[in-house]
């Protein structure tokens, strides 16, 4: 029997070095007796000089596990870890078997240590111990963890309380952070820490953040076990808070409604009858559009959308561009053609020499229609009724802008403008007319191009570009023509 002694400070590194050497030397687990600190130990085991062995490699997951398990209070922890190392030599993927009892035991121990560590980061309560006017403020705490976790947890406090000195005393060890350096010391007893006035404020907060109408003691104790209570200043209030909760809740329920204070009526009247604070400044006919649209209930699409997306552009534009409906991005920004399809449109338009800023850009349907799928909103084509209802707004825009040419992109726009969505492929590139006679140039929708497989995309994009060129030529002809100023049609 070989006795391996591990120090109380730096236990993990010491265990790792010993285990590495022993494993390299092929020492089987049953020949070892592990021990941390000065214990009585096994009188029959002898402490032997360290053995030298070949370097060994272990799965990554094992090191993470061992970093936690070494701090467990179970005296068998070092032996269990070494036995696992021994078993891993033969089966390197053993840790992936979550049904293996040895793996289960170690993962459970790791979980217990990890939980204790987490509770320590939560429940340590510092009291101020420094002198007023000192260069750095200083604080101290007494804490009783279930496992030997001070060394494991101290880095958390180092990262968190960088600009102050602090000390944490546990029955096992103490940690001291002074002037930015951390050190550990052994053998701590409970220090006598001075009263701290802030604790009273903290208790006030704890008492008042509690809602007496919902008492859930089990939920509280599951997360804040009683073993931590005696070192937390707020927990002494709990019995009284629980005892009076029911009566307080009943009192609230039974209290008759009171008369509102006098000022309430005045303030409410001012808010409700006063002019809307952020109404848009009126500047022409189409401003009615965005205010009118935001109250539109002609179809149910408004319910799920963020906002309606009105058209955008000069109100005397010669060209009106009509798409299908706003997409995810347009719905969020409240502006047409700013998403991926809009970007593709801008790129192709730039190649075709079409200036989007000179055109009035809008959609056949003004609200985004979608179906939520997990974290995304999937576009849904508007149905006939929705297109019809929304045509009211498109007609309003057409009457206000009086375009000389309309570019209809995709079946929905074509349907809204000509009354018929069928046979788009055959009609693409052609000129049709709206009921009032405005010429409509029919083309593809840019989001259709985005959905095409890469092989077909280039050809379709070329067609789209040629349509945009045609629109530019037609506009040139209209502007140069004799009747350029006359209303179209």
């Amino acid at each position: 029997m070989r006795r391996v002694e591990l120090p109380e400070i730096g236990t993990f590194e010491a265990w790792r070095d010993e285990a590495r050497a022993l494993l390299g030397a092929g020492v089987p687990p049953e020949e070892l007796l592990w021990q941390r600190g000065q214990g009585d130990g096994d009188l029959f085991a002898e402490a032997l000089p360290p053995v030298g062995g070949a370097a060994v490699s272990v799965p990554r997951g094992f090191v993470d596990l061992a970093r936690l398990v070494v701090w467990h209070r179970d005296p068998e922890r070092f032996a269990r870890l070494y036995a696992m190392l021994w078993a891993l030599r033969r089966d390197r993927r053993l840790l992936e078997d979550r049904g293996d009892p040895r793996v289960e035991k170690l993962t459970r121990m790791a979980k217990e240590v990890s939980r204790d560590r987490h509770k320590m980061t939560a429940f340590v309560r510092f009291r101020e111990i420094g002198q007023p006017g000192a260069n750095r403020r200083s604080f101290a705490a007494w804490f009783e963890p279930t496992h030997h976790i001070l060394e494991l947890t101290a880095p958390f406090f180092v990262k968190r309380f960088g600009d102050m000195d602090w000390a944490i005393f546990t029955p096992d060890l103490s940690a001291h952070f002074e002037g930015g350096a951390l050190r550990f010391a052994t053998g701590a007893t409970r220090p006598d820490l001075p009263e701290d006035a802030t604790e009273e404020l903290w208790r006030t907060y704890f008492r008042n953040i509690f809602n007496p109408a919902r008492v859930k003691l089990k939920a509280m104790q599951a997360e804040m076990p009683k073993k931590y209570w005696h070192n937390m200043p707020e927990t002494r209030l709990i019995p009284e808070m629980v005892a009076t909760a029911q009566a307080r809740a009943r009192e609230m329920a039974e209290a008759a409604p009171t008369l509102a204070p006098k000022r309430a009526e005045r303030i409410t009247a001012r808010l409700r009858d006063g002019p809307a604070e952020r109404s848009h400044p009126a500047s022409g006919e189409l401003t009615d559009l965005s205010t009118g649209l935001s109250g539109c209930r002609r179809c149910p699409l408004w319910q799920d959308a963020t906002q309606p997306v009105p058209g955008e552009g000069p109100q005397d534009a010669a060209l009106m561009i009509v798409g299908e409906q706003p997409g995810d991005r347009e719905d969020l920004e409240g502006r047409p053609f700013v998403g991926p399809a809009g970007q593709l449109f801008d790129a192709v338009a730039a190649r075709a020499g079409l200036d989007r800023r000179a055109a009035y850009v809008t959609n056949a349907v003004k609200h985004f229609k979608f179906a939520p799928r997990g974290k995304r909103r999937i576009h849904q084509a508007p149905n006939r009724g929705e297109v019809q209802h929304c045509r009211w707004w498109l007609d309003l825009e057409r009457r206000a802008v009086k375009p000389k040419l309309i570019l209809a992109m995709g079946a929905t726009a074509v349907e809204s403008l000509t009354g018929d969505r069928r046979g788009l492929t055959a009609r693409r590139g052609g000129i049709e007319r709206t009921q009032d006679g405005t010429p409509v140039l029919i083309t593809l929708h840019p989001s259709y191009l985005l959905r095409l497989p890469q092989t077909e995309r280039a050809a379709a994009e070329a067609l789209f570009e040629s349509d945009l060129r045609r629109a530019v030529q037609m506009l040139g002809a209209i502007n140069a023509g004799p009747g350029a100023d006359a209303p179209a049609g």
Binding site: R127, F156, M164, N208, A255, I267
Partner: protein
């Protein structure tokens, strides 16, 4: 009024906000010795109140004076509660002193609307700015955004805060109009859309390769009050789905409407349906982590409301018994996630272990499965539920026994 009295009033007024999370966002620390605080990404609950809620942040109102008259709110203008107002310095001091003693992860600041939305938001932003720039506070800050505040203020708030939140308040626009007449649901949606856009812009590099400052790195959340209006659970969950998919919310909090001091006569004063709130959270989890669609959950409700006696996953499984029992050794991940009693972690362990060997009943127990729930729905090498999954009274095995009526 002393600081202690103000704290009593303004924490009491803040407790109806369910959220106290300090998770998510970027990791920071103060190892450089020039400031205080750290965020670890996972959040810490520093205490629990007897209502079972986590106390992670100093959750307070800047002031509970308010010019709005929302029927469900303790701070509405027509209520007679005691009013108080913190100075920005007082909020900063409380936050830092609590933080130094390890009581909290940071600050969750909310406020009643005083004078105007812009002035209120400007004061809140000032507090966050003082904490971050004067005191180099690196802990967590959650600001409750006021939807009507000017965009520049929201922009600045997002630079200091880890999380921004805007409450949708109630599940339907109709209910907001009825109970919170000064609030505009469309404006609330636009504000949430704006936060999502700013967050996404904060993640993109500019053409020089520079990253803009992160905007609200821990995302945005919202809260809905349950049980104050007549909306059923399906309506509530549909609203949540819309919020998650549209605005990329981290969390939707459901707050069972709770009796408040000096309540408005417009509201029912009933015991809060805490179990309903719990079931909604369970369903919310199924939507986000278990691949369920709202319609599937809705199909297992009665009259649009979730079963209060059994959880929504079990309710769904009981309504879809033709899909079970499931062979744990062969089933796809998507189906394993639908077995009552198997959580995402257990399913992960099943998949990893299944590569090595065929699983037995005992293996599943070690992996952390809730076998009491799972066993009628699964088969394993050494386990077959036999008639168990066919018996007509399967639901009765899980539902609590009927309560005896109280004698009167």
């Amino acid at each position: 009024m002393t600081l202690d009295q103000k704290l009593a009033v303004l924490s009491d007024a803040a407790k109806y906000d369910a959220s106290c999370a300090s998770s998510g966002g970027q990791r920071r620390d103060s190892r450089d010795g020039k400031g205080i605080g750290s965020t670890t990404g996972s959040g810490i609950c520093h205490a629990y109140a007897p209502d079972g809620r986590c106390i992670s942040l100093l959750k307070i109102l800047m002031t509970n004076f308010c010019i709005y008259d929302c029927a469900y709110c303790v701070n509405r203008v027509s209520s007679n509660v005691t009013r108080a107002r913190f100075s920005p310095e007082e909020v900063v001091t409380l936050t830092l002193e609590f933080y130094r003693r390890n009581y909290i992860e940071g600050l969750f600041l909310s406020s009643g609307i005083i004078r105007s939305p812009d002035e209120t938001m400007a004061d809140m932003v000032r507090i966050a700015r003082m904490l971050r720039t004067e005191h180099h506070f690196r802990g967590y800050i959650h600001l409750k955004t006021i939807p009507d505040a000017a965009p520049e203020l929201i922009e600045e708030a997002g630079l200091y805060a880890d999380r921004l939140s805007i409450n949708v308040e109630l599940p339907t626009d109709r209910a907001v109009k009825d109970y919170a007449p000064e609030k505009d649901p469309a404006q609330i949606r636009r504000a949430m859309a704006d936060v999502r856009l700013k967050r996404e812009a904060g993640k993109e590099r500019s053409f020089t390769g520079k990253r803009p400052p992160r905007f609200a790195p821990a995302g945005q959340s919202t809260q809905m009050i349950v049980g104050a209006d007549g909306a059923d659970d399906t309506t509530i969950l549909r609203t949540s789905t819309r919020l998650y998919s549209g605005y990329k919310l981290r969390r939707v909090y459901y707050s069972a409407f709770s009796p408040i001091p000096d309540a408005s006569a417009a509201l029912p004063l009933i015991k809060p349906p805490l179990m309903r709130e719990h079931r909604l959270y369970q369903a919310d989890w199924l939507l986000r982590f278990y691949g369920f669609e709202v319609d599937e959950i809705a199909s297992a409700t009665s009259g649009g409301n979730l079963d209060l006696e059994v959880d929504p996953k079990l309710a769904w499984a009981l309504a879809n018994r033709h899909l079970f029992p499931l062979d744990v050794n062969r089933a796809e991940r998507e189906m394993l996630l639908r077995v009552p009693g198997l959580g995402t972690k257990t399913v992960g362990r099943i998949l990893s272990t299944r590569r090595h060997r065929t699983l037995r009943y005992e293996d599943l127990r070690r992996m952390g499965a809730n076998l009491k729930q799972a066993k009628p729905f699964i088969t394993l090498l050494d386990w077959r539920p036999r008639a168990l999954s066919d018996v007509a009274d399967l639901r009765a095995r899980f539902a609590p026994p009927p309560e005896q009526l109280a004698l009167f």
